[in-house]
C-alpha cells in the first residue's frame, strides 16, 4: 500500500515535471507517460480510483487454474507476457460477464491473428469458486468462444469464496458481496464491478477499463497490441 502511494506520487510528480518542462524549456522531456509505460496517459485520469490504474504496479497473486491443474503467479509473467485481467463469474445473470469475457476473447483472437499470442496472458478470475468448477469453466469457455488450447488463457479459481473476496478487495480495491438474488433460479448473485486491467511485460498497469463491459472493443484490442508488441 505504501509502495502504491509512493508510485502514485511519482506519477504525479512526473506529470508536473513534464508540463513544467513543456512550458519552460521547449518540452525537452516530451509528453511521455508514466515511467515504464508504453502508452501515454489515458484520457480519463483514474489515479484516484480504488482500483489499480495507469502507472501502478500490477497486483501480484497466485491462484489455481483448475483446467490446467496448475497455479498461476502473475509475477512470473514479468519479462515474458503482458497481462489482460478481469474478474467475473459464470452465473452472472445480466450479460456483464459475457461482455467482459468477450473483450478478453477478442484480444486473444487478435493476438492469434497477429502472431503475438505467446506474448500475452489472459486471466479471468472467478469470484464464485463454489459453482465455477473446472468442468463449468470449460463449458463456459466453449460458449464464450475462448480458445483454451492457445496456452495463453487461464481461468483462475480462488481456493474459496472468502479467498477470492479478500484478493479482490486487498489487491484490486473491488468489494464483492453475496446478495439475495432477484432471480428465481439463482441462490445468490454478486454486485459486480466490471473492471479490466492491462499490464505490460514489466508488470506496470497501462490501462484500467473500469466500465469494462462497455469498453470499445477495437480500442482495447489496439491498446493490447501496442503494449504487447512494444
Amino acid at each position: 500500500m505504501d509502495r502504491r502511494t509512493y508510485l502514485r506520487s511519482v506519477v504525479g510528480a512526473t506529470g508536473v515535471a513534464a508540463s513544467a518542462a513543456t512550458a519552460g524549456c521547449l518540452g525537452a522531456l516530451g509528453s511521455s507517460g508514466a515511467e515504464g509505460t508504453v502508452l501515454g496517459p489515458p484520457e480519463q485520469d483514474l489515479s484516484e480510483a480504488s482500483h489499480p490504474s495507469y502507472g501502478d504496479e500490477m497486483p501480484n497473486f497466485t491462484v489455481p487454474d483448475p483446467i490446467a491443474g496448475e497455479d498461476v503467479t502473475v509475477a512470473d509473467y514479468e519479462g515474458e507476457r503482458a497481462v489482460l485481467w478481469t474478474s467475473f463469474y459464470t452465473n452472472c445473470p445480466d450479460g456483464v460477464c459475457p461482455a467482459l469475457i468477450l473483450r478478453l476473447r477478442r484480444a486473444q483472437a487478435a493476438a492469434a491473428e497477429g502472431g503475438y499470442g505467446d506474448d500475452l496472458a489472459l486471466l479471468a478470475l472467478t469470484f464464485d469458486p463454489e459453482r465455477d468448477t473446472a468442468d463449468v469453466l470449460r463449458e463456459y469457455a466453449g460458449q464464450q468462444g475462448v480458445d483454451l488450447d492457445a496456452g495463453n488463457w487461464h481461468f483462475l479459481r480462488p481456493e474459496s469464496y472468502e479467498a477470492g473476496q479478500s484478493l479482490l478487495e486487498e489487491k484490486f480495491g473491488l468489494v464483492i458481496e453475496k446478495t439475495d438474488s432477484q432471480y428465481e433460479n439463482l441462490e445468490y448473485q454478486f454486485p459486480h464491478y466490471g473492471l479490466i486491467l492491462l499490464a505490460n511485460k514489466q508488470g506496470i498497469v497501462e490501462r484500467a477499463y473500469p466500465r469494462g463491459p462497455q469498453t470499445d472493443i477495437e480500442s482495447l484490442v489496439e491498446d493490447v497490441e501496442r503494449v504487447v508488441t512494444a
Binding site: G95, R106, G142, Q144, G145, Q214, T215
Partner: protein
C-alpha cells in the same frame, strides 16, 4: 411524397436523439471513445448456418446499400431465447428491404456444433438468417455489451442504434425503421 420524406426525416431525427441519449447513458460515448458511430462499419463476412430460414453459406455485415439489423445471441443465454418471439415478429414486419440476421459468438464448429445451433434455432422458432462470428470480429466492431444485443445499421453501414437486453417487437421495428429513414 416530398412532404412524407420530410416528415420521415424529422421522425428519424427524433428517434436518433433518443438513441443518442441511450448510447450516452450506456457508456463508450460517455467516455468519448465511441464517438465514431457516424463512420461506416467495415464489412465482415461470416459463415451462415443451415437452419430454418437460413442456409449454409456466407453473409456480409453490414449489407451494401440497404439497412442491416443484427441480433447477437448465444444458445447458452436464456434472455436470448426470451428475445426470439419479438425478433420473429420484427422480421415479419420489416421485410426484405433490411438484411435481418442473428449472430452467435460461440465457438461454432469447435466446442459448439452447427447442429447444436440449428437445434436451438428450431426450438425457438427462428426463421431468418443465422450466422457464426467465431473470432468475434463483428461483435468487436459493433461493440457488443452483453447478450442479447440488438444493432440497427443504416444503408451506409453506420450504426444507428445499439442496445443490449430484451426488446419488444415494436421497439425493434421502430429502431430499424429509423435506420431505414436515416
Amino acid at each position: 411524397m416530398k412532404r412524407r420524406n420530410l416528415l420521415a426525416g424529422l421522425a428519424s431525427v427524433g428517434a436518433l436523439g433518443g438513441a443518442g441519449a441511450v448510447a450516452t447513458g450506456n457508456a463508450p460515448a460517455a467516455l468519448g471513445i465511441g464517438g465514431e458511430s457516424s463512420d461506416p462499419v467495415d464489412p465482415v463476412t461470416l459463415d451462415t448456418i443451415d437452419a430454418p430460414g437460413s442456409r449454409d453459406g456466407e453473409v456480409t455485415i453490414p449489407a451494401d446499400g440497404r439497412p442491416t439489423f443484427v441480433d447477437f445471441f448465444g444458445t447458452w443465454c436464456p434472455p436470448c431465447a426470451e428475445q426470439m418471439p419479438a425478433l420473429g415478429e420484427a422480421h415479419d414486419r420489416v421485410g426484405d428491404e433490411v438484411l435481418f440476421a442473428s449472430v452467435t459468438t460461440e465457438d461454432v464448429g469447435g466446442s459448439v456444433s452447427e447442429s447444436d445451433v440449428a437445434d436451438w434455432w428450431r426450438e425457438h422458432d427462428g426463421n431468418w438468417l443465422v450466422a457464426a462470428d467465431v473470432t468475434a470480429e463483428l461483435a468487436a466492431k459493433l461493440d457488443v455489451g452483453g447478450y442479447p444485443t440488438a444493432v440497427a445499421l443504416d444503408a451506409d453501414g453506420r450504426i444507428a442504434w445499439s442496445d443490449s437486453g430484451v426488446h419488444t417487437a415494436d421497439e425493434l421495428v421502430a429502431r430499424i425503421e429509423a435506420a431505414q429513414n436515416r
